[in-house]
């Protein structure tokens, strides 16, 4: 049973260019998907809610990864676009658009906004661009707080649950499927993008924009495009968030959240499609784990011995900060690389080393 081919046996270019290289890996994928679809039957609401969060955050993180990892443009304003998607979807639903349609439309609307804010990207480079996106973050946040007609102002906006053909997807067990659907669609689309013309162009722009330009790649177009695509993903993720929480408030989309997106992407692995999902999982699960560790400690022997008391909360925050740092030190290339190495290990098993 191997997930990656152990030799070059491919006979056609199509086979060489597929995303899933062996039959077994395709099989594993199908089984995995089937297991995933059964999840609501066995898992509790808590586990499902974590998975749902991983889902919509993962989609948005993937968008950011396309921007940062593939095109090499750092953005510190992703949460604002995520928020825009959330508000846009809520607003559309308020104006009579059914939720299933509002989600992709919100994505498109966010993409348009992203394009506007992406325009400076054609001229700016590196950290200058990063800080310009920081400006986008604050400007959009200010806009959210001000535009009552759109966002409900600072009080936020309540929105409707996802309904399709009369079915309400308003519980974790049901909404889970909505999120899984979008995750699959968005991730497959990204994987496809990366192995076709425009995806390669994005990476080329990242690696060496001067020579990319001479290869006939229009820098301004692709730099802006990658903002558009990233914002589209953020918008869809945000819309899914909106119809999950059923309440959208400007407070959520602050700079801290933007930085968390960045952390997801880096922890998951820059330039790795699946890494985005892994990074999102890491950022969602880690605080939960630390939290449950803290709860387990609370009142326990260690707690009393060290008289931790209220400080456990600070220890938790510190643990999160430390986890990010340790992660970067010991796994600087992200979870995706660890995953690849693990696969490589199994490929050779039992003859590794």
């Amino acid at each position: 049973m191997s997930m990656t081919p152990s030799g070059d046996f491919r006979t056609s270019y199509a086979a060489d260019m597929t995303i899933f290289p062996t039959r077994n890996s395709r099989l594993a994928l199908l089984i995995g998907l089937a297991v995933l679809l059964c999840a609501p039957l066995v898992l509790g609401r808590y586990e499902l809610s974590l998975m749902i969060q991983i889902g919509f955050l993962g989609i948005a993180a993937l968008g950011l990864n396309i921007l940062v990892g593939f095109t090499g443009q750092i953005s510190i304003g992703h949460a604002a676009f995520f928020g825009f998607g959330a508000f846009a979807s809520a607003w559309l639903v308020e104006h009579g658009v059914p939720v299933p349609l509002a989600i992709p439309l919100a994505g498109v609307a966010t993409a348009l906004v992203g394009l506007v804010f992406g325009l400076p990207a054609a001229r700016l480079k590196g950290l200058y661009l990063a800080i310009a996106t920081l400006a986008a973050q604050f400007i959009l946040e200010d806009f959210f707080a001000r535009a009552r007609w759109f966002t409900g102002g600072v009080a936020g906006r309540i929105t409707e649950p996802f309904t399709l053909l009369g079915l309400r997807f308003d519980h974790d067990e049901t909404y889970f499927y909505v999120v899984v659907f979008w995750v699959v669609v968005m991730f497959v689309a990204a994987a496809n993008l990366m192995r076709s013309r425009d995806g390669r162009a994005l990476v080329a722009v990242r690696d060496h924009y001067l020579s990319a330009e001479l290869m006939g790649i229009n820098l301004a177009y692709y730099r802006t495009l990658s903002f558009g695509i990233a914002s589209f993903y953020a918008g869809v993720g945000g819309a899914l968030y909106a119809h999950y929480l059923l309440f959208v408030s400007v407070e959520a989309f602050n700079i801290l959240f933007s930085i968390q997106f960045l952390a997801m992407v880096i922890i998951g692995g820059l330039g790795s499609v699946m890494g985005s999902l892994m990074g999102a999982a890491f950022m969602v699960l880690m605080p939960e784990l630390v939290q449950s560790a803290a709860q387990a400690l609370e009142g326990g022997a260690i707690d009393r011995a060290l008289s931790l008391g209220a400080s456990i909360n600070f220890l938790r925050e510190m643990a999160i900060g430390a986890a990010i740092i340790l992660f970067l030190i010991f796994e600087p290339d992200g979870l995706a690389r660890r995953w690849r190495l693990m696969k490589a290990y199994w490929k050779l098993y039992p003859y590794s080393h």
């Binding site: 808590y46 009080a155 408030s249 407070e251 959240f257 209220a310 925050e317």
Partner: protein
Amino acid sequence: QAPYPIGHIADYSGATSDVGVPYGRGVQDALAWVNANRRIGGRTMNVMTMDYGYQAQRAIAQYQAWMSRERPVAIQGWGTADTEALTTFVTRDRVPYISGSYSAALTDPTGRAPRAEKAAPFNFFYGPSYSDSLRAMLIWAQQDWRARGQTGRPRYVHMGANHPYPNSPKAAGEALATELGFDVIPAIQFALTPGDYTAQCLTLKNQGANYAYLGNTAGSNISVLRACQTVGVQVQFLGNVWGMDENAMKAAGAAANGVVFPVRTSAVWGQDAPGMANIRAISRISDQAGTAYRPVHYLAGVCAAMLMVEAMETAAERGQVNGVSIRDGFYTRQNWVPNGFDGVCAPSNFTAEDHRGTLSVALYRAVVNGDTTQGSVDDLMRAGTMRLEPVTTINLDRRRDWLGW
């Protein structure tokens, strides 16, 4: 018998932790004290405290976790953003939610009040809403203006960040100010974080405001107070309930002198009242030595927790303890003071149509007369360098057109 699961969402480490810590500790200590000293229908409570760091997302995730595992029968909550976000959920799941947010939007259980935006049938809090507190302060301000023998129209300005919590009473305040004959100056904004607010103070001075409402929490209010003191602004500041307390007075020093703000309890730490003995006992839960000074928020936290406990006791007496029966427990008493907390917790009245627990607002004045930089709050209070001076108590009419905003 299994203990009742109780959720407790607190901010011990986030942006509002300066007030979140004393309030949350008050809630936690009170519930622990109840567990140790008296049972609810023979059962204890399993209090699950969660520090969400003032991040609404985390609160919601935790809420989901609880609802799928422990299913708390009631929840003690905190901030405005997360409480408003959870309103839909607690309504759906029928869980009474006692918040630290006093947003007036949470006070209309039916959603039918003229200016209400939504129904919040399971939301409760102890004390007057932000809007009602501000209304009371405005009424006092008008009296004060006359008492000082001033003529002409006093000028009122709302100050704070553009954020649900400072904004919550803005409309209510400006409406009443106009009604009372104030000149309402356009609101002045300043962020929720400390910073240089000299520009705002210069504006304030320039516009000649007489009364200014400070809508933020202590951290940034201090910056404003100090900046305004530096540039020499002559204005009467009206603090909000989370915006001023003993710790803020110490930090702001002389700049805090004279700020008027609402206090939710009938007595503050160190004063005598029949209920104080119990408060001291509760305080000892997290402070064995019994030496800590407890700010006003701690007492408010205790009262909020005790309301919930007694509502649960009522539910237990009537049979089942669940979300709906606890909610109904809030409606059974008139002028409700938790047993054993007389003279500390102010009387509350909740009805199925109106969750404004109290309309009586006690106003205090912060008095600082000396250097606050050395010594603890406790020392300073004891030495009299800082004092909380009762000003007056304003009893508002239970006007239906003031419900829900």
